[in-house]
């Protein structure tokens, strides 16, 4: 029993020293906590796939009642904004090339008469494909407006679609992205903090001193891991609070489960960071390896594009990415209100990673003395 207390006391000393090293400088405190605040606000507004403003131009050679009616419907959405009315087809290219408009609608002279004759009337739509996902979304919107227009004109039997989107009724992309950031944003800095922690001591030569203290490698490991995890969890909390109270995205799941998930996720991230740290001789190397890892971890996690769209091989590779599962877990608990049974599967890869990387780091502490 007293041995256990001694262990805890030793670890507590190390944690205290680590926290001091991490937080004693005011500039370091700012750098660890201000970004989470600023970024979650910036990205909350800035990272969106939802069409809010589609500038378009019209080349209307028919000028009939039908084309006017159709354009009025487009303008009525509040999303499509008529930027200019073109006089001839030569003006289409400059309008799109310069990025002034996202799409041009070209209505032929015989549009009205074709419709009146009961024939199909072509409406040409030219889109700027430089961002194919915006172009696709705008095309789908125009398609829906035209389909409604056709249906009303013909008076034919209509099939209407009643849409119900679970967990995100208006299909706002912010609801999808922001909960993911709880895990993603905090991971980046946590990883770097952990990766630099041992590397800094190695560079300054104090790590050898640490090794000759009564602390065992496992105790050093815990003492190094806890402060980094604390930083990560605090950052996650800042982001969580902003999402919940500033952006007012309703949270459906249990906060306990959310934090249990975040704890395992942060542990896995710190495990990776400490392994990097134990491998590096100096801070430059630690930072290098971290940067090398961060981009794949971020981009191949389902943050920006779904994992389902990846080739099979890469999908398998994402099993070693804690962010994929941490993010999935946070999203599902936060938005879907998923319970432990629903997300239990997400814990497995994170725990396995932690169980491999933390002992690996401890082993490397000892066996990589240069």
């Amino acid at each position: 029993m007293s041995a256990l207390i001694a262990v805890v006391v030793r670890i507590a000393f190390l944690v205290r020293k680590e926290l001091l090293a991490l937080l004693k400088e005011p500039s370091s405190r700012v750098i660890l906590f201000a970004p989470a605040l600023v970024q979650s606000l910036l990205f909350g507004y800035g990272a969106t796939y939802d069409l809010k403003h589609v500038p378009y131009a019209v080349l209307d050679q028919s000028r009939g009642a039908a084309s006017t009616e159709l354009l009025a419907r487009l303008d009525g959405t509040g999303v499509f904004k008529r930027e200019s009315t073109l006089g001839n087809a030569q003006q289409i290219a400059p309008a799109i090339d310069g990025g002034r408009v996202l799409l041009v609608l070209s209505i032929p002279a015989d549009f009205e008469s074709l419709l009146a004759a009961g024939q199909p009337a072509p409406l040409q739509m030219i889109l700027d494909g430089r961002n194919s996902s915006t172009a696709g979304a705008a095309a789908a919107d125009v398609g829906a407006i035209v389909a409604a227009f056709n249906q009303e004109r013909s008076g034919a039997a209509a099939v209407s679609i009643e849409r119900r989107a679970w967990f995100n009724p208006n299909l706002e992309s912010r609801w999808n992205l922001m909960p993911a950031l709880i895990a993603a944003l905090s991971m980046m800095q946590t990883l770097l903090v952990a990766a630099l922690s041992v590397a800094r001591e190695r560079e300054q030569g104090t790590f050898d001193q640490l090794l000759v203290t009564p602390l065992t490698p496992i105790e050093i490991l815990i003492g190094k891991a806890l402060p980094s995890m604390l930083v990560g969890l605090l950052q996650s909390t800042i982001i969580l609070l902003i999402i919940r109270f500033w952006f007012q995205i309703p949270m459906n799941g249990s906060p306990w489960l959310l934090y249990l998930g975040l704890f395992s996720f942060t542990a896995a991230a710190v495990g990776i960071g400490l392994s990097i740290s134990a491998l590096s001789v100096n801070m430059q190397q630690a930072m290098l390896y971290t940067f090398l890892l961060i981009m794949p971890l971020m981009l191949l996690s389902g943050l920006l594009t779904p994992v389902r769209n990846m080739p099979e091989v890469l999908q398998i590779a994402t099993y070693v990415n804690p962010l994929r599962f941490g993010m999935d877990l946070v999203r599902r608990v936060y938005l879907e209100g998923a319970g432990l049974r629903d997300v239990a599967i997400d814990f497995v890869p994170m725990l396995v990673l932690t169980a491999i990387t933390l002992p690996l780091a401890a082993w490397l502490f000892r066996n990589r003395l240069t």
């Binding site: 990272a47 419709l115 889109l127 194919s132 389909a147 013909s154 679609i161 849409r163 290098l288 769209n309």
Partner: protein, 377 residues
């Protein structure tokens, strides 16, 4: 006078030291050369917005042939992969478990209602992945609209054919709406940003921490010479990376290169210089490796990924955020490189963005030089 008698001699000496230091750190060099190749391969294949074979449950509660007919369009689509069932409860379970992304439900009285002129279908989506959900919604409504148009054309309805508007759609610059085409040029911008940030952001801070910079201060070396000698070797390294990226984009991902290669290379080298100089400036301003690395991560990579128009279209963003994104050099390079690849040489844009990048390069080199003026903290 900046360039005086000993300028070139001192610069050469410093350059030799920096190049040796760069080459000595094998891991640094290996990562510097390998990273871009690995990243562009990984993401060129890994990132995609193109929904393909999205699993959708179709719950057919109406056994009439019309009901099946309405949704026949879903079957042939390469975007959706429908599974037919009659049990709504099991479909909901599948949706909850993430096995399907949407449910299309045909209610029992569907064909009767259709005969009466107004029928309803239910589409249940999992909104957590809102982007995929929107795309799936688009495909489902498109399939039904084309069924309706087909039916109207066959004159299945009473009354004369009313004529319908048909959209003839053309997507310029990216006819097949292939998301790889717009992501790969963006990835080049990200890679250039990342290289700049990690190669140079520790260079000056490290010398401060080790005290070697103070030793340099007592020599005749000038701040500008220090900056240039730390910049030049990495511009060369970055240029090799750029070449790898361009080759991969052109020959592996077959992204068309419609602008002239010379302009693409020129603009990319300008941006590379901006991003390396930003790293140096951060390094000199913080004088601390820990803070420098955190700052580099926060000011370069993250904004370049989220706010430069890489995937999130800046048109959809509030004005205040647009203003912030315009301050980022990455935004100007991102827009330019996408246009140069997909659309071609757009001279007003090239001149505008390249001069902005050049100004940034000059300002950041001047800034880095300022942080190295011979004064002790």
């Amino acid at each position: 006078m900046i360039i005086d008698h000993g300028f070139w001699r001192r610069l050469r000496a410093l350059l030799r030291k920096e190049v040796r230091q760069m080459l000595r750190e094998r891991s640094n060099l290996a990562v510097g050369l390998l990273l871009p190749a690995v990243l562009i391969l990984l993401f060129g294949y890994g990132l995609s917005f193109d929904v393909k074979d999205a699993p959708v449950a179709v719950v057919l509660e109406d056994s009439a042939p019309t009901a099946r007919d309405v949704l026949a369009g879903l079957q042939g689509s390469r975007y959706l992969s429908p599974s037919w069932t009659t049990d709504m409860a099991s479909a909901e379970r599948q949706l909850r478990a993430g096995e399907v992304v949407a449910i299309v439900r045909v209610p029992p009285d569907f064909s009767r209602q259709l005969a009466a002129g107004q029928a309803r279908l239910q589409l249940v989506l999992n909104g957590v992945d809102s982007n995929t959900a929107s795309v799936v919604e688009g495909y489902v409504s498109g399939a039904i609209a084309s069924w309706a148009a087909h039916r109207a054309d066959r004159g299945g309805q009473a009354g004369a054919a009313a004529g319908s508007v048909q959209i003839v759609q053309r997507i310029w610059f990216n006819e097949a709406a292939n998301s790889t085409w717009f992501l790969v040029p963006g990835l080049i911008a990200l890679v250039m940003t990342l290289i700049g940030a990690f190669l140079t952001s520790l260079l000056i801070a490290r010398e401060w921490e080790r005290g070697t910079l103070e030793a340099l201060f007592v020599t005749p070396v000038r701040p500008l010479e220090l900056v240039l000698s730390k910049l030049a070797p990495y511009v060369v390294l970055g240029a090799i990376d750029l070449a790898l990226c361009l080759l991969a984009a052109r020959y592996l991902f077959e992204v068309p290169m419609r602008g002239s290669l010379a302009v693409i290379v020129l603009a990319s080298l300008l941006y590379l210089t901006v991003s390396l100089a930003l790293g140096l400036f951060i390094s000199g301003a913080t004088r601390n490796q820990f803070e420098a690395s955190q700052m580099a991560l926060l000011t370069s990579f993250l904004p370049a990924m989220m706010l430069s128009g890489f995937v999130f279209d800046l048109r959809n963003v509030p004005v205040a955020i647009q203003a912030i994104s315009q301050v980022l050099p990455a935004t100007h390079y991102m827009g330019l490189i996408k246009t140069l690849f997909l659309a071609g040489d757009n001279w007003p844009m090239i001149v505008r963005d390249c001069s902005i990048l050049a100004l940034y390069a000059l300002a950041l080199v001047a800034g880095a030089r300022w942080t190295l003026r011979k004064r002790l903290p």
